[in-house]
Symmetry: C2
Subunit: 293 residues, 2 copies
């Protein structure tokens, strides 16, 4: 493809996502805060820039995938940030999960220079990033979306334009409410089953096909039963996203009792050393809570 694209943030998600764009024939410029992270992509033909501003200067479309709101603010609005090279026609696509309201403010700042910011958080984890099977939830200008959609399809399978700026982030937060509270449902149900002496595998098999069924039960249930807490999605990151959920809920005067409860229970998980485990380690906390004496 004859696109000059940039990619900023080459972590566990960004690295394979940028790789798909390079494999699709894009002319790729990359930047990572941590030295050495660009080496593999450079060896495959990518060019390394010294700053986000330099990435933007050399690209028509800049993708970024970093961790939290302050990281995106630094990359976009910092002294050597993307905004220094912003110009009419530049499109910035933010794959990070960050604050919807901060997203709207940054989109306005880029718009003053004629550049468009699309919020495009993803779900599907590192497996989805490697297999190009991510779900991508996009908010922002419709024309900019049309322009980047063919490139998003190189990284994901379900690409949805949710509406104006910030709606991609809001939809991702809806996803995180569902994921975390359903996880709590599974953790409590399996704790109840275990404390009452049920055969856990048989129990899951008996109920998973009906109204009790969920992705969380089918995928995390067996890991909870096996005590396999290796991370698919890390509790520390789930907590970051739940903070965004509760902050956005406060901004919109929305009371979320269950999301708030699961945030507190994940805090207990972090306090007992499970922060870098997968979210299925919530089960360990609920089980401990049921066995305090």
């Amino acid at each position: 493809m004859d696109n000059r694209v940039g990619f900023i943030g080459l972590g566990i998600m960004g690295q394979p996502m940028a790789g798909h764009l390079l494999a699709a024939g894009c002319s790729l410029t990359v930047y990572a805060r941590t030295k050495g992270k660009a080496a593999k992509l450079v060896s495959c033909g990518a060019r390394e820039a010294a700053s986000p501003a330099e990435v933007a200067a050399r690209s028509d479309i800049v993708f970024l995938c970093v961790t939290d709101t302050p990281d995106v603010e630094q990359v976009l609005l910092g002294d050597s940030g993307v905004i220094q090279s912003a110009r009419p026609g530049l499109i910035v696509v933010d794959h990070s999960t960050i604050s919807p309201s901060a997203t709207r403010r940054m989109a306005e700042k880029l718009a003053e220079r004629g550049a468009a910011l699309l919020d495009a958080p993803v779900s599907g984890g590192d497996v989805g990033a490697r297999n190009a099977s991510l779900s991508i939830m996009v908010g922002g200008d419709a024309k900019a979306f049309e322009r980047v959609e063919p490139l998003l399809k190189k990284m994901g399978t379900t690409i949805t334009r949710c509406g104006g700026s910030g709606t991609g982030q809001l939809t991702k937060l809806v996803n995180q409410i569902l994921v975390s509270v359903t996880n709590l449902a599974v953790s409590e149900a399996l704790t109840f089953a275990k404390k009452n002496g049920l055969d856990l595998d048989k129990t899951v098999a008996a109920v998973a096909g009906g109204a009790a069924g969920s992705w969380q039960l089918a995928n995390l249930g067996p890991k909870m039963i096996a005590g396999d807490f290796r991370p698919g999605f890390m509790i520390n990151l789930q907590q970051k996203d739940l903070r965004l959920v509760l902050q956005s809920a406060e901004e919109s005067n929305t009371s979320l009792p269950a999301a708030s409860l699961v945030h507190q229970l994940f805090t207990a998980a972090q306090a007992s050393g499970h922060g870098k485990d997968g979210t299925q380690a919530l089960f360990a906390v609920i089980e401990k809570l049921a066995s305090l004496h």
Copy 2:
């Protein structure tokens, strides 16, 4: 089939379940507390008895499907209850959702007369009962289970023997924890989406296929969005089951913060007139909670 079977309790579930046994060629004796409820089955060849004891006297296997623990105690242990005709070889199959510990006590009483009690609560609702597609979770004696399994297959598609007496009820309660807390996840997520101005249909479509997906989201989500609160499963019955969950949890020293929370929120739903609505009306309560002023 050359079985003399009885069926006690001909409500929205029992009526079609008994009908499947009759259609399978069983010689059927029925009893319902409410006069007139047996008429349709009698017109199809069933015989009506004057009491549960009479049903048991005329049957090798007695099924029952009533509402709560006291109803089952009355049917089994009352003055004209099944126990009056209990004898070696009689098998009683209880499809009601009731207390696991009360189930074990009643099983012991029947065992003193040589009769077996299987707990066999179902999930799948009135639609599952009519279509003979119920999930049936069975606890109790393995030989008695083998004897009745061919008949259970006339009423359901997923038949699981979970273990000894009470384990069918416990597995059903696991199911109810999953169903109700996942429902809460969906209710909160859609409330957050609505308060933040998202297009709800688009939001569900964007997230339902991934880690956020569940039966509750796929099936109740669209009804919540449409404001269609007609009952699939009634809030008043969900509350009865959550009381059983919390009572069993207390008996086993198990702390269930989310199941307890959703029980309280369903109480708010009942208080605002939603008791006879379907469980998806939980959404209306969460939405009201988010809009109090």
